[in-house]
């Protein structure tokens, strides 16, 4: 594939410099992708890496089955990325699979459509009888009617993204945590305004300085709207939080999902010696002010125990909220009405050159989001360099600290 590139970029002082704002999984994957394509990359994150939404998610490697019925595009994206991540990041997953369990008559009636939709999306799925499901997972609700096994898995929500940062750093990217973007440098050009750099404050020293850039990528997740505002641009990203509950004890080896249309409290992800139950969905005004509503916590416990009864009496280890970055029209009132598929915005359309926002998506699709963003970035900078992240094996997370 290398020979197909017209211009072979090698990372040099003359390569264009891209500044990425946002150190979550998406920002890390964009840094990795652009570095491999030969660009000079600096990433700034106001806190620790993965301190926003990335680290707070339930740690599910999606098979795509959850989206198979209603959102085929997301389902196909998930299973493709699921396969790629297992190849490029071996050791970062528990290859424990997922089980969708039908508890009620209505769940059972939904099963044929669900199963066929999985197969139609390219998701390997296997019908599992009630007896076999209870043999595989003895803590499941004995009232369950049937189940479907799919290639879900458990991810370490922080350490998988950290491998993208570690690899980018090893390949020459500069990663700056505790460095907050506070302003954009905007130049007036012949074709309108253009972003030329980012002013940052190093929170570890208090020093304020400017980083020049040929292009700035906004990878702020649910903070994307605030970051875009620094450049005077409005992006339709809404923070949509959900509540998660971790209980002590590992009640299943597989990821347990409720076999029904997407709803609240429909998943239990085993993580080490914990079981993480998720999630709910609402729209918040500010991703910096997330609440953990009591009724949502209670709902996680009751819905989780519908699948695994022992959860009702389990000791709660932690409750928290995580804000999804959802793309949509203004005015929607519930998070689930918005698309979960990611989107890359070239803000030249808003009259600002040199500024790109990548948002939406989910942890499982971080690499694909980065590929899409990097394609737009390279197109804008006139660079022809193919994406290499589908095959490039990532460094271990420990390499970040080397």
């Amino acid at each position: 594939m290398r020979g197909s590139a017209k211009v072979q970029m090698s990372q040099s002082a003359s390569a264009p410099h891209v500044v990425i704002v946002g150190g979550g999984g998406t920002g890390g994957a964009v840094a990795h992708d652009l570095t491999l394509r030969g660009l000079r990359v600096t990433l700034v994150e106001r806190g620790e890496l993965t301190s926003g939404t990335t680290g707070r998610h339930h740690g599910l490697l999606h098979s795509g089955a959850r989206y198979a019925v209603k959102d085929r595009e997301s389902a196909v994206e998930c299973i493709e990325e699921n396969r790629i991540l297992r190849t490029i990041a071996p050791g970062s997953f528990e290859e424990n699979d997922g089980l969708f369990v039908a508890i009620t008559e209505a769940d059972e009636a939904y099963e044929p459509l669900f199963f066929e939709s999985c197969l139609a999306s390219g998701i390997p799925a296997r019908r599992v009888s009630r007896a076999e499901a209870l043999r595989l997972e003895p803590n499941l609700n004995p009232a369950l009617r049937c189940a479907v096994q799919v290639p879900d898995g458990t991810i370490d929500a922080m350490r998988l993204p950290l491998r993208f940062f570690a690899t980018a750093k090893r390949n020459g990217a500069t990663i700056k945590p505790f460095t907050e973007a506070v302003a954009m440098t905007i130049a007036a050009g012949v074709s309108g305004r253009a972003v030329r750099g980012v002013s940052v404050v190093d929170r570890s020293s208090g020093a304020r300085y400017e980083i020049g850039a040929d292009l700035v990528v906004n990878a702020g997740g649910p903070w994307a709207e605030k970051i875009a505002a620094l450049a005077g641009v409005d992006v339709p990203i809404s923070p949509s939080p959900g509540v998660l509950v971790a209980v002590r004890g590992r009640y299943a080896n597989m990821v347990i999902n409720r076999l029904h249309a997407s709803g609240d409290g429909d998943i239990v992800v085993p993580q080490r010696e914990l079981s993480v139950i998720g999630t709910s969905s609402w729209l918040a005004a500010d991703p910096d002010h997330l609440t953990v509503p009591a009724d949502h916590v209670a709902m996680m416990i009751s819905e989780g125990s519908a699948m695994i009864p022992a959860i009702a009496a389990a000791a709660v280890r932690a409750t928290w909220s995580a804000a999804r970055p959802l793309i949509g029209e203004r005015g929607a009132t519930s998070g689930r009405e918005l698309s979960r598929t990611f989107k890359c915005f070239d803000h030249a359309a808003d009259g600002v050159e040199g500024f790109v926002t990548i948002s939406g998506g989910k942890a499982t699709t971080l690499r694909a989001m980065a590929e899409a963003a990097a394609n737009v970035v390279c197109g804008k900078l006139g660079i022809e360099s193919p994406c290499r992240t589908r095959e490039y094996r990532l460094a271990p997370h420990t390499a970040y600290y080397a």
């Binding site: 301190s51 929170r203 020293s205 914990l274 993480v276 609440t291 009724d295 916590v297 995580a322 420990t398």
Partner: protein, 257 residues
Amino acid sequence: MNAELDPASDTHATADTGVPIRFRVYRRKAGDRGGHFDEFTIEVAPDTTVLDALVAIRTRLDPTLVLRHSCFHASCGTCGLRVNDAEVMGCVTKVLELGTSTVKVEPIANEALVSDLATDMVDFYARLAAIGRPLIRDSEWLADSIEPAGIESYNRFESCIECGLCISACPVVATDSRYLGPAALAAAERAVAEPRGLDPNFVLDLADDPQAAWRCHAAFECTEACPSAVDPAGAIMALRRRAASRRLRSLFGWRKP
């Protein structure tokens, strides 16, 4: 589903709860000659954690506060802190359960400081790499391994969340940085207990050293501090027994070449 929820139902509220708590927070910026404490008052609810309060301080009162956090459920290991002089994960430590009207918050000890409450974990991973992480096993697949009998009752080193609390709590590391420390020795014991095709003598050689398993004072502070029940002190005692028994066998010529 509501667009905006009733703030009164927030179990982790950091305002308007009527229970004010004073936080004395360690501060130090790069270039400062020493550290000092700043005080902030935050109102807390029954489920409000030390981490929630620190995030609220940063969001509402002082954006210059530097701290680490990621998962909010003691799985990632980033928000290890010393709270009222004890090593804890900030995300699972409820403020009101501390039982003090003033809460002192400091960074973990025995690691280099980035700023304020954030430490640089380079040294932690260097210790792990020195013993637990360079091991090339014959197979990465658990299915290929011969697991020791009764493994389900073992404390799992895999439960280690790499938080550094054991290093922070260890009285020996505090006075002698050459000591390998509890996390790396727990990793070593795990590798020896379940070698997956590796010659465990190689790891045991590293552990059977004056700066390794024999340097521990058996204070058990590490096991006390561990938020994931890895029991590093128990692992160190197990390594000593293995090393002693190997010497004994060697003395009587029983050790295989």
